[in-house]
Amino acid sequence: MLAIALWIAISFIVLALAMNIYRLAIGPDIPDRLLALDTMYVNAIALIVIAGMWLNTKTYFEAAMLIAMLGFVSTMAICRYLLRGDIIE
């Protein structure tokens, strides 16, 4: 049962990533693309956590934590650049 649930979750998240890439390609404005990137890193964290459960290791937890922190910081930096024209004034 767990293997089937893992497969279902992986396929849903891969489909979500494909839709994010499509929005990243067609997004009419810059904030649309930024929103697509923001969603992509959250989905990547989900994929990494599922890979950790699939391989039965705890090693991938640190990778997920790093992606969470760097994704938030980079989204904030790009937002600030678009709002102010500068990141650190």
């Binding site: 849903f12 489909l15 979500a16 959250v42 989905n43 989900a46 956590v49 459960m53 969470a68 989204t75």
Partner: protein, 147 residues
């Protein structure tokens, strides 16, 4: 690797729910009509989905290794704190860049400071008086969307 039945049931249900919510969030981001509508689904649906998946992972490792494994709670807390902040900043960016929104949007723009909406502020950015009624304005906006 083998779990008790109830733990396996809980983990499986949480995994499928999480995948479904993440899928719904991205589907909304693909399907909605303007940026401010598109902002809703990733900040709510995807955050809930990743919360479900992290709780599933936490339960799985706690039961299978027979010791408490709560490090995933860190990621969950971090994501649940940062997702509203990201949504707020993205909405501010969209207002600042005068993105168009569909004509059926209700309510009026609240009063923003000049530094929020930029220098050359327009009174009602997305909604000038439509010449041929709201429907044709909506169609025109939809046509102009993929420029």
């Amino acid at each position: 690797m083998t779990l008790p039945f109830f733990a396996e049931l809980i983990v499986s249900v949480l995994l499928v729910l999480g995948g479904l919510f993440a899928f719904t969030g991205s589907l909304g981001m693909l399907q909605f009509k303007d940026f401010f509508m598109r902002l809703h689904s990733p900040t709510k649906g995807t955050t809930l989905g990743i919360g479900c998946i992290l709780i599933a992972s936490m339960t799985y490792f706690t039961v299978s290794q027979r010791e408490p494994h709560v490090q995933e709670l860190l990621i969950t807390l971090f994501l649940f704190i940062t997702a509203p902040v990201t949504g707020h900043m993205l909405a501010k960016t969209g207002l600042h860049m005068h993105l168009r929104f569909i004509a059926g949007t209700r309510g009026s723009l609240p009063e923003f400071m000049d530094e929020d909406v930029g220098q050359n502020r327009v009174a009602n950015p997305g909604r000038p008086k439509p010449p041929g009624g709201l429907k044709s304005r909506h169609k025109q906006l939809l046509r102009n969307r993929g420029r």
